[in-house]
């Protein structure tokens, strides 16, 4: 909730600042800047670079602020660290009461600290000392060092002067103190608003973990092997799918018989999500490479078939007529007119197929694999290694994004006429 409001505030604040504050010296001087109507004109809406940068920085800032990162200049209040104390009141069986103090030392998770020294005091209830890890809690067996203990009938009746019954919790300045059913005290120091690393580690932890895994590997394979295997599966599956799908699409676009024969199959398989095929593929081909590649092949196949088919059907008949009138043979028309004419469609299909394959491979590795990006985060999640999980997700996202950018560059280079006529 707080994170969301902060996010919204930054969104609106930076919009107002950049738009109004910087408008003057960021004036554009190109053709689009002269358009007075840009609402609904898609070509006139271009991503504001500043907005993109602020957006990414904001995500990291909020992430850092809520995880106590060194990278974030401000943090939401973190868990309490250091020494604190609270008092409790013990009632002996004879009705006499005595106050005692618990001295608590809260240290970061995973570090050990000396238990604070407690001077003896006058009453029958002695002060106690306890060490707690931040965000955790600790039982205080307050009667261990007391003259009259629980077996004698002593019990805690108040914490910080507030009466308590077993099961009740008192919010003290030091943290939450709960009187357990067995009569001991459970102390949970103030947690603050930050996330525990086990839920969400700080960005630098994730980065450090990435560096560590890149150097030493994870689960018998280096980071590059994990990512490389995922990529290899995607490329192999996609290449096979394109190799079969494109000729099949051409055949379907050019021959009635092929169209009739494969139409029901393609139209049936198209809406089946590749993820739904994972169980069947595992049954048939096991969890090895073959199964993965078959799955990705199937994921790419229909997309590429349909793209090639519509690429062929989309050729303007005037172009085919013109080629015929210029004396071209059927094969020449196929090679010089129909194939190049279908390339833009095929590229669009290839971009979609690569995206689907990348998503599918990660999902398939989540289900079963010995190596791969998906397997890495799956295993890490079993061990609660949230930093590895987040690192994996970020790497998967970056690679997916990079694949799309590469495809777009290839498209610009190979089919520069796309969308131009």
């Amino acid at each position: 909730m707080i994170a969301l409001s902060v996010y919204l505030a930054i969104f609106i604040g930076s919009f107002v600042l950049i738009r109004i504050g910087l408008r003057r010296w960021r004036a554009r001087h190109d053709f689009t800047s002269l358009k007075t109507v840009t609402f609904g004109d898609e070509s006139a809406v271009r991503p504001d670079r500043a907005a993109s940068i602020i957006s990414v920085v904001t995500i990291f800032l909020i992430w850092g602020a809520f995880t106590g990162s060194k990278w974030a200049p401000v943090h939401v209040p973190g868990p309490f660290l250091g020494d604190t104390q609270f008092t409790f009141t013990v009632e002996a069986p004879d009705g006499t009461r005595d106050d005692a103090t618990v001295f608590a030392r809260v240290q970061p998770v995973g570090e050990s600290a000396a238990t604070p020294d407690v001077p003896p005091n006058a009453g029958f209830a002695q002060d106690d000392a306890v060490t707690v890890a931040a965000m955790r809690s600790s039982l205080v067996i307050w009667d261990e060092n007391d003259a009259i203990n629980r077996t004698d009938g002593a019990r805690v009746v108040a914490v910080e002067g507030q009466a308590v019954a077993p099961g009740a919790t008192v919010n003290t300045q030091a943290g939450d103190v709960t009187l357990t059913a067995r009569g001991t005290l459970n102390f949970a120091p103030a947690k603050g608003m930050q996330m525990e690393p086990i839920w969400l580690p700080a960005p630098e932890t994730v980065l450090a973990r990435a560096g560590e895994i890149a150097a030493t590997g994870y689960q018998n394979f280096t980071l590059w092997e994990h990512l490389g295997w995922s990529l290899y599966r995607v490329i192999a599956g996609f290449a096979l799918g394109a190799l079969v799908g494109i000729p099949l699409g051409y055949a379907m676009g050019l021959s009635d018989w092929f169209r009739g024969w494969f139409d029901p199959i393609v139209e049936f398989m198209r809406p089946v999500p590749p993820l739904a095929l994972i169980p069947l593929v595992i049954i048939w081909a096991g969890i090895g490479e073959a199964g993965k590649i078959i799955l990705l092949f199937l994921a790419a196949l229909w997309i590429m078939t349909i793209a090639a088919r519509s690429g062929v059907s989309g050729v303007a008949i005037a172009k085919v007529h013109a080629a015929y009138s210029l004396g071209a043979s059927k094969w020449q028309i196929l090679r010089h007119v129909i194939v190049p004419n279908s390339l833009p469609e095929i590229f669009t299909g290839a971009r979609v197929a690569m995206g689907v394959c990348w998503g599918t491979v990660v999902a398939a590795e989540l289900v079963a694999a010995e190596k791969g990006a998906g397997m890495m985060i799956m295993v890490a999640s079993r061990f609660q290694l949230t930093d590895v999980v987040i690192m994996g997700i970020i790497l998967i996202g970056i690679i997916g994004y990079a694949i799309d950018i590469l495809m777009r560059i290839a498209e610009k280079w190979l089919v520069p006429w796309k969308g131009r006529i």
Binding site: A318, H321, A322, S325, L326, G327, P340, P416, W417, I421
Partner: protein, 269 residues
Amino acid sequence: MSTLSIENISMRFDLPNGSHVQALQDVGLTLNTGELLSILGPSGCGKTTLLNILAGFLAPTQGQITLNGARVNGPGAERGMVFQQGALFEWMSVRDNVSFGPRMAGQREAQWKGTVDHLLDVVGLRDFKDKSVYELSGGMQQRVALARCLANEPDVILMDEPLGALDALTREKMQGLVLKLWKETGKTIILITHSVEEALLLGERLLVMAPRPGRIHREYHLPFAEMGVQQDLRSVKKHPEFAARREEILSMIWDMEEEIMGRSAEATA
């Protein structure tokens, strides 16, 4: 002398709903080499259908076409076609478009280079030969289409509203270019147009067609194309006979359109 003869062509389209359209009825005509024929007529009178039959994209339901005595059945390189627009290959450069015909015929670059470069000069696109066609304006694209057709050295050139998508000024320049190419190459040219002026300027012979069923309504033999080769097109248009012909043909087509409207009004009444 080679001839293109259209022997009593009829074309009937059967529609899926059981009815049919008589797009052409008994169209007959003979053209000699080097003749320039323009075809004019109200929309839907079968001009495009006739041209598609000549090109070989459609087979007539009756009659036949012969070129130099050989029967036409299918498209062929001896009958080149220039389309209104969108028939260039945008994945090829201007030069590759123009040399497409010779290349498909298996000629080597040395064989076609001279012709292609000359044609690019003639249509004024020498400096654009390595550009992609999508970088050219509409008028330039039509010039590429003309050059591409000519590079293939067809006997007959068929044009379906080749200048229809151009602005008035570009159109006028292109008309001059068509006349010039006609005279220089001596090709037989058939040109469909919607503009009476263009039909008068670019037709030694002018065919006015009538709709429903599509047929030849009247044929003219005109001097303006020859005149246009010698002099500026604007002065040809100022010729008194030009104006008279234009009025005559305009009112003829106007009457046909009126009749169509009247008939369809009756049909709906």
